[in-house]
């Protein structure tokens, strides 16, 4: 359920196709996101899931799975 919501956000923010958003997908390498895209994505995740992701955590969120893990651990 969380994964579906996350997928929706990623598709919306990064303009990628839904089937590109696999758990293993890397934001930078597979989904073409730069650090600013990632930041916008994070803001969207925060709004949707009610979590806070400090700037220092951003370096650890490299794949879709790492984003999902963070959400599940903190919401």
């Amino acid at each position: 359920m969380n994964f579906d919501k996350l997928k929706e956000i990623i598709v919306e923010e990064l303009g990628v196709e839904e089937d590109e958003v696999t758990l293993e997908a890397s934001f930078a390498d597979d989904l073409g996101a730069d650090s600013l895209d990632l930041f916008e994505l994070v803001m969207s995740i925060e709004d949707t899931f009610g979590v806070t992701i400090p700037n220092e955590e951003l370096v650890n969120i490299k794949t879709v799975k790492s984003a999902l893990d963070y959400i599940e651990a903190n919401s």
């Binding site: 650090s35 600013l36 895209d37 930041f39 803001m43 700037n55 220092e56």
Partner: protein, 312 residues
């Protein structure tokens, strides 16, 4: 005039002099600060000890506030980030990246941190990280630039953060100053016009080329490398653009550009040096003291309505 920035930094005029690599050293920075603005030393890629020396020399020449621009892509950025604390620098601006990792210790040491941003996303990120203000720089500026123009960037950044915004890029006279304030800025940053300051130690050839420049005389090279740079057209920019059209490798482009800014600034090479300057160079047409430049920029503010063509 009082704005959130003059109050925050204790300066008389809401103006920063841009941290231009090789150009912004102690003579220029001290002269700007003495004239009531915020002079800024560009750390760029310089060795830490060179920057430390510039800081100390600046302090000998002025007791007013000044800043250091930390270029985050420099190999010794980490060292410089510590050194500005050790030397008691009151204001740090940053460029070429995300300074979040130094923010906590700079703030803990009472430093005002003002990152340069080229997008609303980065501005928001910097506000969250604890920045005191941001410098939003449009692509009219000289040197390394972002995508958006000053006209479109400033109001969007102003809307996206509540910290003060300093507008940079394309400001050369009172009309630009008033425009920046109309767009919501609390202060301005000026680069190109300070290149031709009497106290600026760039080679006379460089000043001459800026003074003679017309509006269309700048080109942007490096778009293919992801590091676009605006400079005055010359043999170097023509060669660079030709290579880019031929899809030259990053290494080849890097080799062409290496040392070219220094060659222009220090040696006065106007053909193969990189003569970085903004689009407003066309409007910059005489060498003046920093005091004259700053007073001129702000003296006309009240008069600007007379320049405009409509009946208010």
């Amino acid at each position: 005039m009082e704005t959130r920035i003059t109050q925050l930094l204790g300066i008389e005029y809401p103006i920063f002099q841009g941290g231009m690599a090789w150009v912004a050293e102690h003579n220029l920075a001290a002269a700007v600060s003495n004239a009531g603005g915020l002079g800024i030393i560009a750390a760029a890629n310089a060795p830490t000890e060179v920057v430390r020396n510039e800081i100390r020399k600046t302090k000998e020449m002025t007791d007013k506030p000044f800043g250091v621009n930390v270029m985050l892509l420099s190999a010794n950025a980490e060292e410089v980030a510590q050194m500005v604390i050790d030397e008691g620098v009151p204001v740090v601006t940053t460029g070429a990246g995300d300074p979040s990792k130094y923010m906590a210790k700079w703030k803990a040491n009472g430093i005002k941190v003002i990152p340069v941003v080229a997008s609303t996303a980065l501005a928001k990120m910097m506000e969250r990280a604890g920045a005191d203000a941001v410098i939003a720089e449009g692509c009219e500026a000289g040197g390394h630039i972002g995508e958006l123009t000053t006209m479109t960037l400033i109001p969007q950044v102003v809307d996206s953060v509540s910290i003060p915004v300093i507008a940079a890029g394309g400001i050369g006279d009172s009309r630009g100053v008033v425009a920046a304030f109309a767009l919501g800025a609390d202060a301005i940053q000026v680069g190109t016009r300070f290149i031709v300051a009497k106290e600026c130690v760039v080679h006379q050839n460089y000043k001459h080329k800026v003074i003679k420049a017309k509006d269309i005389d700048t080109d942007v090279t490096g778009r293919t490398t992801g590091h676009p740079v605006r400079s005055l057209k010359n043999k170097l920019t023509r060669q660079f653009l030709k290579l880019e059209r031929e899809f030259a490798s990053a290494e080849k482009l890097e080799a062409l550009g290496a040392g070219s800014l220094r060659n222009a600034v220090v040696d006065g090479d106007m053909h193969y040096g990189s003569v970085m300057a903004g689009q407003i160079a066309g409007l910059v047409n005489k060498e003046q003291t920093c005091k004259e430049i700053i007073e001129d920029l702000f003296a006309g503010v009240e008069e600007v309505k007379k320049f405009s063509k409509i009946a208010w």
